[in-house]
């Protein structure tokens, strides 16, 4: 069992769809629900905007965990964007796992604009998991570290 380092602050990148999860994050904020400060949100117009390259890039630049949040399947504001995103992420996450990169470092969650509580829970849970795993050594890239 790996010892949990209390000092360690992971870097977590969250890609959030403007129409749902980003608004969900807003709601979490205005409802005074907290989520870890090391979750850095990147707003995207739709989960479908998330090129698998973004995920890799985040890891390459030192993220320890990457989560993508979008509208619930069926609720995408562009009708079907999240269905495509879902397939892409399924295959990408599978590949990362196949290369031996911890499965827990990647995650997809569907969070609507009304789900402030879910947003905060998901982020707390995810951050705790990443803290447990520790630094992302398997996907780091020296070329991109300052």
């Amino acid at each position: 069992m790996q010892e949990i380092n209390k000092e360690y602050q992971p870097l977590i990148v969250a890609f959030c769809c403007n129409w749902c999860s980003y608004a969900g994050a807003d709601l979490a904020g205005s409802s005074r629900l907290s989520y870890p400060a090391n979750v850095k949100i990147i707003r995207v117009p739709c989960s479908c905007r998330v090129n698998p390259m973004f995920i890799l890039k985040a890891f390459q630049r030192g993220a320890d965990g990457v989560i993508m949040c979008g509208c619930h399947p069926g609720d995408c504001h562009y009708t079907t964007g999240n269905y495509y995103a879902r397939r892409r992420m399924t295959l990408l996450f599978d590949m990362l796992d196949y290369l031996g990169i911890e499965k827990e470092r990647t995650r997809v969650e569907w969070v609507s604009a009304a789900e402030g509580v879910k947003f905060s829970n998901v982020m707390n849970e995810f951050a705790a998991k990443i803290c447990e795993l520790g630094e992302n050594k398997r996907l780091e890239d020296l070329r991109c570290k300052e």
């Binding site: 698998p52 390259m53 890799l56 890039k57 390459q60 399947p73 069926g74 079907t80 269905y83 495509y84 879902r86 397939r87 892409r88 992420m89 399924t90 295959l91 990408l92 996450f93 599978d94 590949m95 990362l96 796992d97 196949y98 290369l99 031996g100 990169i101 911890e102 499965k103 827990e104 990647t106 995650r107 997809v108 398997r138 996907l139 890239d141 020296l142 070329r143 991109c144």
Partner: protein, 327 residues
């Protein structure tokens, strides 16, 4: 083989002379007997002088058609069964103009790997004599007979199909062995059964051999962008990392993901890799996943069907839900 080569030459000359085509895409001899290279022939004389076809013609000619699209007139191309899948995929992606191409599908008994032959202690290869399952390799040090199945290219050992899926006519003299396309996934399944730590160790040892020559990208018939992310210095993955770590994995994830659902499993990437990295194990993982999650799909089997990443169903599985946690 000699017989097929002669038939091919005769066909090429016939089509050139009757004006069906104005040039021919085939193979010509390289510096050694075993390094035949793709080449364009413009006349009967050129064909007679330097056209070759033997068991060292593993190169898939489809990709060369992309560049040829810019030239006038119809071109004749010789395609092995697996090459026709790449061709179809290129048609599907509008990278080649089918109307300007005349395909002669040729017989394939599986092509040979010079590395595998050298591993048998045979050097200085100057010729081949083929007799069904047996191959007599002629070298400057004498002849040696080996079993064909032991010296074939990996891509031919795990051939997915002996059926031409696109052609105008065929040159087939001898019967071709049946292909077992499911055999391709056994090593992938083996890796899947390992723990994450074991897989990481396996891939680290394989992928850190990569010298970033980009040959795998250049040869890939599915990789036809004119501007490539790997040539962009901004990408952070444009060149080999100046560190003896494991950065090259990013290149491999990006490269393979870019051809997901489009890779026909032609095996060219693994064939050309100077470091003998089993790149097919990466591509096949995607193919296996697609088959399992979204239904059987073979890229290049036709020119109409929807690619798995440009389609969806409302009940697709959730990302990561099939994976085991832990190391």
């Amino acid at each position: 083989m000699q017989r097929i080569e002669n038939l091919m030459k005769a066909k090429a000359i016939e089509l050139l002379e009757n004006g069906t085509v104005n040039r021919v895409l085939g193979w010509t001899a390289g510096d050694f007997y075993y390094d035949n290279t793709p080449a364009i022939f413009n006349s009967k004389e050129e064909i007679e002088k330097s056209f070759v076809y033997n068991s060292f013609c593993g190169a898939n000619l489809s990709k060369y058609l992309v560049k040829e699209r810019k030239n006038e007139g119809k071109i004749l191309v010789f395609l092995k069964p697996c090459d026709t899948y790449s061709f179809n995929q290129l048609v599907k992606e509008h990278r080649v103009n089918k109307d300007n191409i005349y395909i002669v599908g040729i017989e394939c008994q599986g092509h040979l790997s010079i590395e595998a032959i050298k591993a048998k202690g045979i050097d200085g290869v100057v010729g081949l004599e083929e007799n069904g399952e047996e191959v007599t390799v002629k070298s400057i040090y004498g002849d040696k007979t080996v079993v064909r199945g032991e010296v074939m290219l990996e891509k031919c050992l795990s051939c997915k199909s002996k059926k031409h899926v696109a052609y105008d006519e065929l040159i087939i003299v001898n019967e071709m062995p049946e292909a077992d396309s499911m055999k391709r996934f056994s090593k992938v399944a083996e890796l899947e059964a390992m723990t994450a730590d074991e897989r990481f160790a396996f891939w680290k040892s394989e992928l850190s051999k990569c010298i970033r020559c980009n040959a795998c990208r250049n040869v890939c018939p599915a990789c036809t962008c004119t501007k490539c992310v790997f040539d962009n210095p901004e990408s952070g993955v444009d060149a080999k990392a100046n560190a003896d770590k494991f950065e090259e994995k990013l290149f491999h994830i990006i490269r393979s993901f870019h051809v997901t659902g489009r890779c026909t499993d032609c095996g060219e990437c693994s064939r050309v890799c100077p470091q003998n990295i089993p790149l097919h194990l990466i591509n096949r993982k995607y193919i296996k996943d697609i088959n399992e999650f979204y239904g059987e799909y073979q890229a290049g089997a036709d020119t109409e069907s929807k690619a798995p990443l440009t389609a969806f169903t409302t009940s697709d599985i959730e990302p990561g839900s099939n994976l085991k946690e832990g190391k």
